[in-house]
Symmetry: none
Subunit: 201 residues, 4 copies
């Protein structure tokens, strides 16, 4: 196997383990076993556990950024863009979701550097959302609110439905997630005009 393949395999294994068990509970032995490489091999590519973590973080940030930018169309409405990006995210859900969990476990990551890394990603996402929301406000597409709070709620709502939910009930399909985000974010629960959720299955 090539060195590049090995590296990717380690990254994939680590991402999977970090997501499943968190930063502290992920042991290098576990990563090595999942990646099917020797433990020492990890250290030929990454100088330590934190570095490995950071690289995964950085990759996800980059992917998300590119993905979002490729979907935004300045001629579309806020909600059209939001749902377009949302659908793109959901297509790679398995991959990103692995990460999404980590943002909730910031507190477990011992080192300052890793903490900052996670904060960075969250900040990148929130900043982007805030700008979009601010623009939507100016165009009166959404009702008056603090863009910071709105962005944060969107972010958490997405994570809750796309990832957290399956830990307590059967996981939601892409269509269901899409629908519920529209229901809670756009229309409101008390809105009598809200369309009922149509679950295809």
């Amino acid at each position: 196997m090539s060195a590049v393949d090995r590296r990717k395999q380690i990254l994939r294994a680590a991402a999977r383990s970090f997501a499943l068990f968190g930063y502290k509970a992920t042991t290098m032995d576990q990563v090595a076993k999942i990646a099917n490489v020797g433990k020492g091999t990890i250290y030929t590519f990454f100088s330590n556990k934190e570095d490995l973590f950071d690289e995964i973080l950085y990759k996800v940030i980059l992917e998300m950024k590119m993905l979002a930018e490729s979907r935004i169309d300045r001629n579309s409405t806020f909600f059209e863009n939001l749902f377009s990006v949302l659908d793109a995210l959901l297509e790679f859900r398995d991959e990103h979701e692995l990460f999404i969990k980590l943002s909730q476990e910031v507190r477990d990551v011992g080192t300052l550097k890793a903490k900052e890394g996670l904060a960075t990603l969250e900040r990148v996402i929130l900043d982007y959302l805030e700008r979009e929301i601010a623009m939507a406000l100016e165009r009166k597409e959404i009702c008056s609110c603090d863009p910071q709070v709105a962005a944060f709620v969107m972010f958490k709502l997405y994570i809750a439905l796309a990832s957290d939910f399956k830990y307590v009930r059967e996981p939601l399909s892409q269509v269901e997630i899409h629908h519920y985000i529209r229901m809670f974010l756009a229309d409101g629960l008390a809105n009598p005009n809200a369309r009922p959720v149509n679950i295809p299955n």
Copy 2:
């Protein structure tokens, strides 16, 4: 200092540390230092780390149960009751918030017993919410949706606003939280009739 005070001090310190750093990352040395007691002292009150954790968990479950039951009025509407309980929870925010974080870190808690404890609490809350939502649906107070999803979203929305938010921005006041939950849950962002948030300060 009296024994009861010491016990409380340890509980407070542990709750604080569990909430800040998670279960695994909380060391008994740390708890001892925060509580300003010797490490051994903790073990005179709690037989081990898990016991300490369980006691905090149990106390929170009890408090929340009592609090919710005291606020529900069967003659009031769903949203009236929801906001009444919400306000009660927010009054003790500092105390409960400590716990709320833990529910996000279930996966990091090593022992089965602790895991089950956390799952229990979340399940208690969700079950309660689902029943209330199902009743509201029958009375047509809210629009058609899966009560399980709606309950889950409410739960996560509360945690996001009351607790998570302050890790990225200035914390929200009780009034703001109240208002945003109404906005996202009841009225919807796209609703032109939604009242703007009035921050007293």
Copy 3:
């Protein structure tokens, strides 16, 4: 209760626990509980665990010395004296046995001082036996052998029958012990003249 009574109670409790569980496995909490006094009380009489141990040791040494001396009659034969002392020891078996165990656990006693204490007692007993055996040899009462080895075997044989045996089978009565010591020590297993053991029960 008087201070002297308290002191005795602690000594008795400690002797019991040392004998049952050994030096290391005996905790001061345990001694306090058995003695029905506060843990701190022990430290008003004994400066530390080792001191408590030493005192018990010293007391037993004294008792045994006095007991042996009171039974020895220079006009009697070696075996008559041996069995006389033996019977005296067996009368206080419960009390002494508590100690006897300790001589086997010398290796568990962490501190040099305690180790030396135990060695002292064993040495006192062995020296006494050696002198008696040497005298018996001169009088041709017993067959040619190294008094050091003979003394040691006598000592161990006594402990084995009077104390160790009950950990694997039903404990032996005083009469049985007496008889078996005679059989193994004086007559020999292969001796056809040896009288069979008459167990009264």
Copy 4:
């Protein structure tokens, strides 16, 4: 050094320390230091202290069983067989002696499993001896006695001479041990026909 060598070194060090200081008083630090390995290295071969102890126990049980079976000859007399096994045991004295001590410290071993392990070994040895003694009784090779008591005394006598003795005096040679066991067990101290001990040295 090879892994197998390291493993053996740890076993040897642990056996030595268990024998010298007992189970509780043997620290993993001590074993590591004696074995000249890092503390963690022990845990690459044995999952915990008890496992390390059990392995030593099991090995000794096996060795003793095989050794005894290889020496027993049904056409020989009881004492011939006894001394044959005895000599075989004495050849590996250093190795077995390490264990023998442990049988005296059963009471200090905290865990049930270890306790049972030690009891098992003692029981195996005693059962074997009892059967042999019962057969000897039927053939009138030895005088009337309880086989349980006789077996126990033989066991303790062997331990006393082969192991315990050197803690109070110069250790006995193989020939001396052989001779004294014959003297005390077969002939009796008071037997005028007993041959004097011939120490070759």
